[in-house]
Amino acid sequence: MTDNTQNGQENIYRPAIMNVVGKRDEAPGVKTLRLEFQDPVEHERFRQTYRTGMFGLYGIFGEGESTFCVASPETRKEYIECTFRQSGRVTSSLASAEVGDLVTYRGPYGNRFPIEEFYGKNLLFIAGGIALPPTRSVIWSCLDQRDKFGRVTIVYGARTVADLVYKHELEEWQNRSDIELVLTVDPGGESADWQHRVGFVPSVLEEAAPSPENCVAVLCGPPVMIKFTLISLGKLGFNEEHVYTTLENRMKCGVGKCGRCNVGSVYICKEGPVFTAAEVARMPAGDL
């Protein structure tokens, strides 16, 4: 499932310089930056290589680099969007970047969701909290060629209503007749005017009971959610080979050399970050 492309750069550790052209507050501590390449050559390389599921290293010189997915879809390559929670040194400085400021980007790296293999199939997207961004990249990559796919179901949950990200897009999906959107928040996380479900993603998923027939599932979320959602998917009759997820680990180089992101023998940066649930099940759990 590897689909890595040698990038043509002389120095693989040299980042591209990006203009911040948009900034959005998504949830408390969570922001989205929209970035454009300063150098048209770098941009062209991105256009040629980026496919949904790949990741990048976003940084600020003087602070360092952080790894997150490219949250924008492969059908919209004029820019890169990244969504992150402000938690460490790099993400704090990225969070303070404003429109007009400059940040750095290296990538795109890693493998991808093989969406051509999903053509003609029903799609089930399941995301928890801050893991909607990687899922959203696949969602838009598919929605931008909507006629190639069957039914589209999106199950998204967060701890509280405030923690839901991409609220404007959730509204858009809600209003589309060709998408079934199931929103939920953890018990206690609902607001007075919350009109959607209350409950954890796995049980809400079981209630929604999407059919596994001719269906591919894309599942992203915190480890505990993944664990129980996989059990629920199993109950619903989903085959682990048709469930895709994306893993993340601490990374420095992003290209298989710095030695820290492997789970067992598998390097998340080179052989991932996209895996089927069956592939994840074969990894040593004690290394996750």
Binding site: Q6, Y13, R250, K257, C258, R260, N262, D287
Partner: protein
């Protein structure tokens, strides 16, 4: 007829190599550390040691090196690369284990994405290796299917002659031949018999170990906890390992200007894999020791068909708590019987 390099010609060789534009580097004792450094004369060389304290790795992948200088302006960021200078170097007097280690790391640094810092230095360096005629109790090259006269990673192999008078010369690569062409006139041609290579006993069964490591059941074996109980996570074994390649990036400077550096890092350190969230996939010292052994003898050979160990034995020789790869693989050999 074989080519012979006499020891008393070494100074002339160095002069000719210098004249041809090569920097000559060899094992020396500097600041009380036995290490590789540039030399001017043959008498600076310390060729008598079993193995220098520091490895050849330092010459290709320094403990810390600047990658870029950055300067942040209002509308632009200027970066200036510090790629290693294109400079021809001859390393004289490497040991076969250290030379092998460089060839072992080549596929890693070239895995789809080429690390130009590594390959610039690799491509411009001639490694002249001296076969070992002596070993100590920590040497274990033969356990790794290498030998005290392995040619892996070397451009020229020298086999010591009787009475310390010189070496028999074996050309191994185009680069080696070019370096030799500069000193051709200084070489003797005679039929000489070199000293036999050192006798290095095999200490563990590498194949049995690999099989044991590949068995998923053994990943959670209690063995890992027992064998690593006394590890203090100091990182000495990784820093002195000729093949350990893990690194970190750190920025040094202020908001407007500074340097991004590539520094050695170590899988022995808890922070190495720690997520920002606080989750750490390898949160215990035993998980980290397991990673080190698995990486060297299972994952790395699985990807590159080479063990990430050349058997120099420094990890065991210098470990402050007397652990090391040798003991672990000996124990695994016993477990797999």
């Amino acid at each position: 007829m074989t080519k012979i390099l006499l020891r008393d010609r070494l100074d002339d060789c160095i002069t000719r190599w210098h004249a041809a534009g090569f920097e000559v580097i060899g094992p020396v004792s500097k600041n009380n550390i036995s290490q590789f450094a540039a030399i001017e004369k043959a008498d600076e060389l310390d060729l008598g040691a079993i193995l220098p304290g520091r490895t050849l790795k330092d010459l290709f992948f320094p403990q810390t090196e600047p990658m870029f200088r950055y300067r942040i302006g209002k509308q632009q960021i200027d970066t200036e690369e510090y790629l290693p200078p294109e400079r021809q170097r001859i390393v004289f007097g490497a040991r076969p284990c250290d030379a092998s280690a460089m060839a072992i790391d080549d596929p890693l640094f070239g895995w789809d994405y080429k690390d130009s810092y590594w390959f610039r230095r690799r491509n411009e360096t001639v490694i002249v290796t001296i076969a070992c005629t002596a070993a100590d109790e920590f040497c274990m090259c033969t356990s790794l299917k290498l030998a005290p006269d392995s040619t892996l990673g070397s451009d020229i192999l020298l086999r010591p002659l009787e009475g310390n008078r010189g070496w028999l010369v074996e050309e191994l690569s185009q680069r080696g031949s070019e370096a030799l062409s500069r000193i051709e006139a200084l070489l003797e041609k005679e039929a000489a018999k070199p000293l036999p290579p050192a006798d290095v006993p095999v200490k563990f069964d590498l194949e049995a170990c690999r099989e044991w490591l590949q068995n998923p059941e053994n990943f959670e074996s209690h063995f890992w906890k027992e064998i690593s109980m006394r590890c203090i996570g100091c990182g000495t074994c990784t820093f002195l390992c000729p093949t350990c390649h893990c690194f970190d990036f750190q920025d040094e400077g202020d908001t407007y200007t500074g340097i991004r550096r590539k520094n050695w890092d170590s899988c022995s350190f808890a922070l190495f894999t720690m997520h920002t969230s606080g989750h750490n996939p390898r949160s215990t010292q035993s998980a980290r020791w397991r990673q080190r052994i698995m990486h060297k003898f299972n994952y790395f050979p699985g990807k590159f068909s080479l063990n990430s160990c050349s058997g120099c034995g420094r990890c065991t020789r210098e470990c402050p708590v007397d652990m090391g790869i040798t003991e672990t693989l000996q124990e695994i050999t016993k477990l797999s019987k």
